[in-house]
């Protein structure tokens, strides 16, 4: 609970219509897309300007109140989960596109602007904003910056960080700083590069300069049906080995296809492994490459290859893919979405191992993945009404992440660590790695007020100076030279 004086100060900062304190209204903000963690915030502020954000953050700093900034709340790792008794800063009302500069190929937006609106705004001039998380029709740029969001097309186009040129940031002290610039290589440390993906733990972005990209001349989307996801995976490896860089390479397994079909009738072939390949670029080149892709698919046993014949057909294919998470709700009452990354070459073994692990505990796992960059989204299906099953499902999902790390990969490719994967981060990184990251945190936020108790495995205080040197676990294991 916030003190009435604190409430009064916040009201002063953002106006009465920018403050929420009623218990029932606060419930809207008690979780994000990861709904199994819920915390009621002390208050929600809805600033309309950078100055109001600054004022609200200064109040938090003065009273040492934790704050959590929030966009559309679509995050899947609990990044926008409120801090107990803290303040949620909703950026939803800061939703203006402030500047569009085609000559220099950038836009300046406020954090509450919806991802897809950026592309819509610049579409008439033939441009688009490349990062396209599946939630792009509702998620905000501020949230994308916090999570360093990817999407299906980042294999070729990169992530949010690749497209973020500059940021205006309110630091946890309330101080305003400008990181990066629209012109390349601003002198000094690349703080914009560090801020993107810091999951709201370093401050609040209030203005974001994004790169926009010329829409490719042609886009061709191919569906190829295989008997197994492994055969689809081999095709992906062959495409990459042939020196191609498709704009997207997606694989879905039987369960995921079934779910997507039930939800949006995408007319996917019924098969064990569906591969979606998208190539874009100049017409002459794309046609040549697509012929090679088809040949590789057929060599690996594709029994149907289907090229989208119209923009509508292409859109439907993607609609099915992007709806796959939510669609799983049609074939299972509950499910957990995971976000592991593995080296592409580990795909066959990892898929087989996931299947084995799931079978051992009697659960089903649907697989949707950005195969080009090895980003797996295993969907662990379960039924909460069956006693104990949720725990088993959670345990399985974490063991899958450990498997990804053991295979040389990562616990998260685009959803972020948030609340959900704090412990898993400790599995992926050793104590010295985490302590070094903490140095950055403490420089930005010495009081640990911005999204506290997220990302890192245990609450850490900046007063903790790193202790005497401790050897890296790989050193003590005698294999230091391999990392």
């Amino acid at each position: 609970m916030l003190h009435p004086n604190q409430i009064a100060e916040l009201r002063e900062a953002v106006g009465a219509d920018g403050l929420i304190t009623g218990a029932s209204q606060l419930q809207t903000y008690e979780c994000d897309g990861l709904t199994n963690f819920r915390v009621l915030p002390g208050a929600v502020v809805l600033p309309r300007t950078t100055e109001q954000v600054q004022a609200a953050v200064r109040i938090c700093a003065r009273h040492k109140l934790p704050f959590v900034s929030r966009g559309a709340g679509t995050g899947l790792s609990g990044g926008a989960l409120p801090a107990e008794g803290g303040v949620v800063i909703s950026l939803a009302r800061m939703n203006r596109i402030l500047e569009v500069d085609y000559a220099n190929r950038y836009v300046v937006v406020e954090p509450g602007v919806i991802n897809a609106h950026v592309s819509q705004r610049v579409a008439a001039q033939g441009y688009f904003y490349a990062p396209d998380p599946s939630s792009q029709s509702v998620c905000t740029i501020g949230g994308n910056v916090a999570e360093n969001s990817g999407g299906a097309h980042c294999l070729k186009y990169g992530f949010t960080v690749t497209h973020t040129l500059a940021l205006e940031v309110v630091l946890p002290s309330g101080e305003l700083v400008h990181l990066g610039s629209a012109a390349p290589d601003a002198p000094g440390y690349d703080l914009a590069g560090v801020f993107v993906g810091s999951e709201g733990t370093l401050g609040v972005a209030t203005k974001i300069t994004l790169r926009i990209v010329k829409r490719p001349e042609v886009v061709q989307t191919l569906l190829a049906a295989f008997d197994t996801p492994q055969a689809a995976g081999q095709t992906v490896s062959d495409i990459i080995a042939a020196g191609m860089l498709p704009s997207a390479l997606e694989i879905m397994d039987t369960l995921a296809i079934e779910a997507a079909e039930a939800a949006v009738h995408a007319h996917y072939p019924k098969c064990g492994g569906l591969l979606l390949v998208e190539l874009d670029g100049q017409a002459a080149e794309v046609e040549t490459l697509m012929r090679e892709v088809r040949a590789l698919a057929e060599k690996n046993g594709a029994w149907e290859t289907r090229l989208a014949q119209s923009e509508q057909e292409r859109a439907l294919i993607w609609k099915g893919r992007k709806a796959a998470f939510a669609a799983v709700g049609r074939i299972s009452p509950n499910y957990i979405v995971q976000d592991g990354v593995i080296p592409r070459t580990a795909l066959p073994q990892v898929l087989a191992e996931i299947e084995r692990m799931a079978a051992t505990v009697g659960l089903r796992v649907a697989n949707v993945f950005h195969a080009g960059d090895g980003n797996l989204h295993p969907l662990v299906l379960y039924d909460r009404t069956i006693q104990g099953q949720e725990e088993i499902a959670l345990d399985l999902s974490y063991r899958i992440l450990h498997l990804c790390v053991d295979s040389g990969g990562s616990i998260t490719g685009e959803h972020g660590v948030g609340k959900e994967k704090q412990q898993a981060l400790g599995y992926m990184f050793a104590e010295p790695d985490l302590a070094t990251m903490q140095l950055v945190r403490c420089a930005f936020d010495p009081e640990s007020l911005a999204n506290p108790d997220k990302v890192f495995p245990r609450p850490r205080l900046c007063a903790d100076r790193p202790g005497p040197y401790t050897p890296h676990p790989l050193e003590t294991a005698g294999v230091a030279e391999i990392f």
Partner: protein, 416 residues
């Protein structure tokens, strides 16, 4: 080395005990030490930190003069850490030690037709660590992005000897803070990189470069704008402006009919000025700017649409002073400008140009960093021209990473 607590001989003995006497030597007042791995690097830094000795990490030494001068007691050479640790060609990633030269890495990657898609200066001598620390990039950045977009992980040794890893060996990864982005371009002031993980691209198999010539850079502005507004994806585009006039170079890579297709489109865009095939040699001109004796070399950052106009302006400013400049400007907004002082204009000419250019670029977020200059000119200059309101935050980061200021103290922007 003359701290109260330690003599040069003692330092030499202690460092020799860590890295081996064969890899430790005195040169002037500096001890040069070459550790074999991250562990020895950690031990050296820990020793330096405990004794308050300034350390200057060094690779090939090609850019060691960039930034403010550092009086280091220890020169930490990465010359023994040159291995390409891993080339997972099917995953299109690699791990390489920081002392490996750029050319050696690329030779190794070429066995599988792959590359780190960057064209830095002096590839035969420059090392991975030095290139990353200086955030060097060439013309290819237009298509493939900056160095920070190509680095997926790193091993860093901090001043207190902590060995930390950041990122990983997969391209897509948002776990933890991206320390490797902080390290890229930090000029050795936060830690010593010992290994870097890169994402790779297929090497460009077939390429073609065309060149359009004009008397003045301003004439090239409209075709350049038109070119970048098309759906062509050239791998490099640069403007050259100098004594002999101006030229725009365009390189395209592609398969099948793609290159011919580009040629048709380019010939339309450049129909008035004319464009002809040229050779790969034009992409070496940025490096050639550094060959001129007594030149002052600037890295100027500007909005992409200003590349032609700024180059033309600087050329005019110089001409008005009876001096000359040479400029190689990449289409994404980075230019290398060489100022050739005439004997009578002496030091004042570069200083005036720099001040004028900074004033011109600053309102749109641009900047000018002085990379190289004759000593007498350099002494009076603010090399970095950093006016960031985040400088306080940068200093705090430095303080947290290197509280005793042993790593390249004062070399970086804001005397960090």
């Amino acid at each position: 080395m003359s701290t109260a607590a330690l003599t040069l001989d003692e330092g030499l003995a202690r460092l020799g005990a860590i890295a081996g006497q064969a890899h430790t030597r005195v040169r002037g007042e500096t001890i040069e030490v070459a550790p074999a791995n991250a562990l020895e690097t950690a031990a050296i830094l820990r020793f330096a930190d405990q004794n308050g000795l300034a350390v200057s990490p060094a690779g090939g030494g090609t850019k060691i003069g960039w930034g403010n001068p550092v009086e280091a007691q220890i020169r930490l050479s990465l010359e023994r850490m040159t291995a390409v640790r891993e080339h997972s060609w099917q995953d299109m990633t690699c791990t390489v030690e920081a002392g490996c030269t750029w050319a050696d890495l690329q030779t190794e990657l070429a066995h599988h037709g792959q590359t780190v898609a960057l064209d830095p200066l002096w590839p035969k001598r420059a090392t991975i660590g030095g290139i990353v620390a200086a955030n060097d990039s060439g013309a290819l950045r237009l298509k493939y992005g900056a160095l920070r977009d190509l680095i997926i992980g790193m091993t860093i040794v901090l001043a207190d000897g902590t060995i930390a890893k950041s990122g990983g060996k997969v391209v897509k990864n948002v776990a933890g803070y991206d320390l490797h982005k902080l390290m890229t371009g930090s000029f050795g002031t936060l830690g010593v990189m010992t290994e870097v993980n890169f994402r790779l691209h297929p090497a460009e198999e077939r390429t073609q470069t065309w060149t359009a010539n004009a008397a003045d850079a301003a004439e090239l502005a409209e075709p350049l704008r038109a070119l970048l507004d098309t759906q062509m994806v050239p791998s490099a585009v640069q403007l050259r402006a100098g004594k002999q006039g101006c030229a725009l170079d365009v390189r395209v890579a592609g398969r099948g009919e793609a290159i011919k297709d580009c040629e048709r489109r380019l010939s339309k865009i450049f129909s008035e000025i004319g464009m002809a095939p040229s050779g790969e040699a034009v992409w070496g001109v940025r490096q050639e700017l550094y060959d001129a004796a007594n030149a002052t070399i600037l890295k100027a950052s500007m909005l992409p649409a200003e590349v032609c106009s700024v180059s033309a302006e600087v050329r005019q400013w110089a001409a008005a002073e009876g001096a000359a400049i040479e400029c190689v400007a990449y289409a994404f907004g980075l230019a290398t400008i060489a100022l050739h002082a005439t004997t009578d204009a002496a030091t004042a000419f570069p200083e005036r140009i720099i001040a004028r250019l900074r004033a011109r670029l600053r309102p749109t977020g641009g900047s000018v960093v002085v990379l190289a200059a004759p000593d007498e000119i350099r002494a009076g200059l603010d090399l970095w021209g950093c006016h960031s309101d985040a400088l306080g935050l940068m200093r705090e980061i430095k303080r947290r990473f290197d509280p005793n200021r042993i790593l390249n103290p004062g070399r970086f922007a804001g005397n960090i």
